[in-house]
Structures are given as C-alpha cells and as structure tokens.
Symmetry: C2
Subunit: 309 residues, 2 copies
C-alpha cells in the first residue's frame, strides 16, 4: 500500500546528560519516514525546508523509497530549527530555541500523484494545517492518524478539537492524554478523547510501553528495559512511523494487526533513543529490527491456563 | 504445598481524595495472607498483635485456611498502627502516625509445626527480623521472597544488605529499586540488586505493571488500566501474596511459572485498590479472580510472525 506523511523536516540541536550536538537533522516527518521505511516501500511526504537543508539528507530519504515530490524547498529561507536540553531524569526537557522559519507559513500542498494514498500520518504540526491536509485529500484514506503535543492544547485547543473530529487515530503520550481529557486515569482519559472524534487511541508511556484503545478492546505493549536512554528526541515520531509503516505494509487495520503495529513501532523507538537524533535509525538493518521485535515478543509472552486455587 | 508469611497484622487509618477511614484492619501480613488464600489452602503466619485486635478478623484468616499458631497475642499491649494520607495523584503519601506498639520488640518465633515449610514470604519488616526468620528455619524453603521499603534503605541499609544475601527473590517498587541500586535505569538497577544476593527480582511499577528478572530473562506484566484507584494501601502486599500463593500452590519455580505468578499477583492487586483497605479482597470470589486474570491475558496478548518489510 502507500503511506503519506505530513510533518516537519528540520534541524535540531540537542543537549542531554550524555553530551550535546550541533545542528543535526531532525523533525517529526524525518523520523516518521525513516522509521516507516523499515516496513513500507511506497512512501510520500509533504513537508517544507529552506535552501539550507543538506541534499545528502534528501538523498537518504529517496534511497529509502520516500518520494520527495511533496517536499517544498523554499529558496532564500531557512529550515525549522528546534533546540532543547533534557534534564537528568530524561523525562522532562526545556526548549531553548524555536525558530519556525519556513514552517511559519507552511501550506501543505498535496501533489496530484499523492491523491488516493491509502494511509495518512499527520506528524505534530499546527492543528489547522493537519486538518487542511485531510480536507485536501479527494479520497478518504483507510486510516488517518495524527500526533499532537501539549503546546497546541495550551494555545490552540479549539483548533485541535476541530481536527480531532476528522481523524481516525490519535497518538499522544500519557501526560498529553491527561491534559487533553482532564482525567488522571488513562482509562477514563481514553474514553473522553475518543468521544472527541478518533475511534482509535494510542497512549505512549515512554519506558513503560504503550496502550492501544478501540471500543472495549485494550492492548498493553511492554516497554523494553534499556541500559541507557541516550537521547529521547524523536522516539515518539519513530514509534508513529513504525506503527504506520507496519499498518500500511500489511494493509490490515483490525485490532489484532494494530497490536502488531504497536510492537513494531515500539521496537523502532527503542533503537531511536540509543544515539543522538536519527543516527541509530540510519545504522540498523532489517535483521536488527526483527531481532528487536523478537525481544518484545519474549518480554510480554506468557501462557496461563486458569485453574485458580 | 505450604506457605509461611511473616508480616505485620495491624490497624491502618487511611485518607485518600475519595474519603477517609477510622481504624481499619491492615498490615502486610494480613494483605499477603488474604491474597495468597485465593491460591494456597495451606498457609501459616508468624506475626504479633495486641489484645485490641478483633477476634472476627482472626476468624476471617482462619476461615481462609491460615493457621494462626504462629500469631502471638500480647495481653495488655496494642497492635501496630499506621495512618497515612495520599496526595491527589495517589502516587505519593504522607505518613501521619506510626505507632510500633507490639512490633517494637517483635520476636518472630517459629512454631515447630511450621518447620519444613515450602515457601517463605517475608513481608516488610525490620531487615534484622526478616533475616532471623530465615536463620530459624531448619530446612531451607524452596523459595524465600521478601519485600522491603525505602524507610529501611534510609535508616538500616547495612542490615538490609545482610538480609538480601540470604533470600532468593526481592519484591520492590521502581522508586525503591532505584534507591537501593543507585541506578536510574531499571535494567541496570536489576543487575546491581541481583549482585547483592537475590537471584530473582520483581520491580513493581504501579499502574504500569511489573518486571520480573532472572539471569538474562525479563518478563514485563502489564498493568490493568483502571477507572479509579480508590486506595492503593496494601496493593504491593496483595501482589506479593497472590504471587507467592500461586507459586506455592503450583509448586513450580521455573521462570515460565513465575510469569504466571506475577500475573496472578497483579490481578489480585488490581482488586485491592478498588476499595479501602482489605474490603474488596474479602468480597471477591474465585470466579472474580479468574475473570480478572482473563483480562490480563487479553490485555497483553498478541501474535506476531516476523516478515519485516
């Protein structure tokens, strides 16, 4: 099948307790596309960069079968830039710099060849831009998934709620689920959020794994215990990319298959945090991914016959 | 088989955002014995109470096949009393009152009939008392498990480390594992702690489930998403009781069976938090427990064949 990703392709500068980087390649769209490429060989991207973005990185995406027709390159402008510093526990971070640059007036133009795409992943962006993309697709994709963040809940909650009405699946972390719903219990939060529009919900819990909700079904995917989280940047986007890449490749949106997609996304995300930025994701191969998925299977596996007492 | 529990049988007074109780029945030994009784019909307990402890509660334990020969009743003395108040997020609490009373000079006398017990669960107590129990058993049980808490790490770390050398399995929560090991990564913590003595380690993560470690094996049990955590008091002890009751009843300490025991303990703990104190545990029956275990099985279940990309 085919997957369309809409998301930032950008520069990041990251500081963690383990070190800091200069400007490196980042952006939700970048992580999603690279991660999805381990499963889906038919990918499109709608994004915008300035003329400062390195051709080598665009070549890397092309080589991974990401069609770049929808990637706008704005001459004389600069790419989006974010800089952040993680605290010692890696669970919180401070944003040091946000330069919107080309993203400030991003118009998500959908190339004609992208019409009819099967799966749509809306990376974290202004809710209005996310909604616009859905409206511009002439045929409804089989599944429309989106990511968002607390920032939009703080400054654009009304827009966000409008966008939630037109999507099928929302991917947020536990803190965001609590803020969006106003509920502390993730089970209650899952109901409130699904009443806002999306039939499916994924709540990411970092080292504790992820929860998938649909109707009365709940799936809990484990988090792989790691020696070290070197840099969490992009882990959420990498999860989303692995999830959507797996779904698109298998073309099956049953709950059973979505579980597998959650595990696939979790496996990819567990690589992402091992090095700075996208570095680790560009080193690993299919066998590494398969072995990591095997670890997730072993981690959660148990057989139990009920003979209580 | 047979299970011996050593732990406090006591009074609690609890305040949560949902309400508060007068003096109600509590204590690690109480929760462990009630929870284990859903699986193991051959239970012993070593504990101490004052003459203020209600006969009705002792009768309840007897009816659940807990032999009370090892329960000392100190005439003219008062039972251990703890009072605490939970914060709004339920993840932290303040201790308001701790009256050691009979527990101050607790001498864990092992009745002759308890010698040769198969499984031993040391509830949270002074590490010295826990060690004394192991020394007083003439035959080494098949598995010696213990619980402890940050309090003992703060004031009796040396004693605790001595006790860790004589046990097989430690049950702590994530915060305690981090404090005991000095490591933030639970994987690293699991290695440091197992180098202190216990071959097996369980790290409880509250709503996020539990991790079981042995050698290079790791099992991640899910946490059941709940509408409400009404009162977390005793949930950890209830987990330990369900875990040890299941192991003792099945008499199989293979890693595969320990996984099932972790799920059994998790199921019992998920009931415990639904009402104040031991109330919910004394309402439910075998069928309720089986149904809850089924929910855990469904929650974690996925089938995945590897055909990446």
């Amino acid at each position: 099948m085919s997957l369309l990703t809409v998301g930032s392709v950008a520069f990041d500068a990251i500081e963690t307790p383990f070190g800091k980087t200069d400007k490196i390649i980042g952006g939700a769209g970048t992580y999603i596309a690279i991660s999805a490429s381990f499963f889906e060989k038919n990918q499109n991207i709608v994004a915008v960069v300035g003329d400062d973005f390195p051709q080598s990185m665009l070549d890397l995406l092309s080589k991974r079968n990401v069609d770049l027709t929808g990637l706008q390159i704005k001459q004389g402008e600069k790419s989006f830039f974010w800089s952040g510093k993680y605290h010692n526990d890696m669970n919180s971070r401070d944003t040091l710099i946000t330069e919107l640059n080309v993203l400030e007036h991003f118009d998500p133009i959908i190339p004609a060849a992208y019409q009819g795409v099967d799966y749509l992943m809306l990376g974290n962006l202004t809710p209005q831009v996310q909604k616009l993309v859905v409206e511009r697709l002439e045929t409804r994709p089989k599944l429309v998934a989106m990511d968002t963040m607390n920032f939009w809940m703080d400054i654009a909650m009304d827009d966000l709620k409008e966008t939630l009405k037109v999507i099928d699946l929302l991917i947020v972390n536990d803190e965001e689920a609590r803020q969006l719903s106003g509920e502390n219990s993730l089970l209650k939060a899952s109901k409130v959020i699904r009443n806002m529009g999306p039939k499916y919900l994924i709540i990411k819990k970092g080292e504790h794994g992820a929860l998938l909700f649909h109707g009365d079904n709940i799936f809990s995917a484990p988090g792989l215990p790691l020696e070290e989280v070197f840099d969490p940047t992009g882990a959420g986007d990498t999860f989303a990319g692995g999830f959507m890449g797996y779904l698109s490749n298998t073309d099956d949106i049953s709950f059973e298959n979505m579980k597998r997609a959650v595990v696939a996304g979790s496996a990819l995300a567990s690589f992402c945090v091992e090095k700075f930025g996208t570095e680790r994701l560009t080193e690993i191969n299919q066998t590494d991914v398969e072995n990591r998925i095997e670890q997730f299977i072993a981690l959660a596996d148990f057989e139990m016959t009920l003979q209580v007492g």
